[in-house]
Symmetry: C2
Subunit: 300 residues, 2 copies
């Protein structure tokens, strides 16, 4: 089944302890779409300026990602993010953010997008996420991501959103911030009590936790010695997860757990190079092969 | 098969964000022995002063732990540790350490202990660990724990030890310190290259990683909402792991992985109360029941 994602597309400048990249393809909706495209047709809604390199759109189209919802604002500049990873490759510093066209982004979904059954609201303003949600009253599975900025500045809108979505995906630090509880098992459950039917807490190199009505579990990250650039790992996780759910066309507990595992594996490829450089070199078979290894790793 | 452990027995004073305990039963060999006793007969080698409460020895004996190797130094004082956990319940501050009788501890193993096939050298001086190792030339499986203090102060002895033991168990921060590498997948493998046949890196609430000649894997911690006092979790992990290996009388890859899982579960009980207060309330069936839940959690 097709999957709609609304979120940011960006030009990232990334510095790691050993390397640097300028203006590479980034953004939450970009990583999400690309990871999800290994499972299901993806329809992308975002906005860029006319400084946007056409070959980046081409890259997305090559994976059959529908970019008809990607607005180009004449005279506008694309959202830019500049960040630096510390030696441990987990902590990062944001050096510069230029919202540019994202600041006035008011997504209006094409008619056929609105009939999609699977919707993902990538990291962004909760007010804007609510606006999108209202455009898709028939969606069967709506999942959102959020971040510290909106927990601080748009808590009311975020609380309203939580009452209307099926799932929320967020980082461990954000889960602690939203609940004031440092124990992630309690924090995840507390967020589920705020409305969504399930909550996924992403722990970076330590994996992800799932909180549903009848079960709670944690899956470890796929261990990799080769972490080049963690940017987009969380969005790739969400993309792999939602992509698999949309492919299966269902979201029962068993399918959700397998989706969490596919999300984990999509993220494990993303971190192995800058931008989409590693992810674009894989095939669906690579994900399935790593899945076999992952399942073997967790059997005893 | 019987299992010998050499390490510290202590009186702990622990402060958490909400509670305090004074002079409770602690020490690496204590937690290790108690956790291991659910699987196999344990023979404890340690030292205390004559301030040692007899009822603590009684507590160990009730689990059939052989305390004939527990020396009592007349006029001596027992090792004491005082620590405080920060709000996140993972980071802790050591407020006071009084080595007392541990400072001059020179373990001489009883003759029947020396014939044991399974030996664990709990957290302690690498020089002392080497001394013990030489007393058990016939051991089939020798595993040691270490800590930052000995990585800093006894690196030569530790390197010699690494060349002669079968397995090393250590914390994530210690693995990074010993190798200078922040990537745990690389760090664990680098330590294995230093000599031991396998290395286990403990990540606290995030589980544990295993590095062997032919495989590398990570298992998550058993998630618990009820973390009261993490003291002794790592030692309980090692106790559950070694206890299961000694019970099975073998340490092939499959048995090692199941042992890692039992270690994880032993630790998950320990953190649910102060000292041994939770662990002493369980039966072997509780471990097996949690194992069923843990296996279900990791199946998809």
């Amino acid at each position: 089944m097709p999957l709609v994602v609304v979120g940011s597309v960006a030009l990232d400048s990334v510095e790691t302890p050993t390397e640097k990249r300028e203006n590479v393809l980034g953004g939450s909706a970009t990583f999400f779409s690309y990871a999800a495209s290994y499972f299901t047709p993806v329809r992308l809604v975002s906005v860029v300026g006319d400084d946007w390199p056409e070959q980046y759109t081409e890259l997305l189209r090559q994976r059959q990602i529908d970019t008809s919802g990607l607005q180009v604002v004449p005279g506008g500049k694309t959202f830019r993010w500049r960040g630096k990873y510390l030696d441990n490759m987990n902590d990062r510093e944001t050096l510069d953010v230029q919202l540019n066209v994202i600041d006035n982004f008011d997504p209006v979904l094409p008619e056929d997008y609105r009939r999609c059954k699977f919707l993902f609201l990538a990291n962004g303003s909760a007010v804007l996420q609510m606006k999108v949600l209202r455009q898709c009253p028939g969606a069967q599975l709506t999942v959102a991501d959020t971040m510290d900025l909106y927990i601080h500045n748009e808590l009311d809108a975020l609380r309203e959103l939580l009452g209307q979505i099926d799932g929320l995906v967020l980082n461990d630090s954000e889960a602690k911030l939203l609940t004031g509880d440092d124990n992630l098992v309690r924090a995840g459950e507390a967020i589920r009590q705020m409305g969504p039917r399930f909550v996924v807490v992403k722990k970076g190199e330590h994996g992800a936790m799932f909180f549903g009505e009848h079960e709670m579990y944690v899956l470890p990250a796929y261990p990799t010695a080769n972490v080049v650039d963690p940017t987009g790992a969380g969005d790739s996780f969400a993309g792999g997860m939602m992509g698999y759910l949309a492919e299966q066309g269902r979201f029962d507990p068993q399918t959700l757990k397998r989706a969490m595992a596919y999300g984990t594996l999509a993220a494990s490829f993303t971190v192995e190079d800058f931008s989409l450089d590693r992810l674009r070199k894989i095939q669906r078979e690579d994900l399935d092969q790593r899945m076999e290894q992952y399942e073997r790793m967790l059997s005893f």
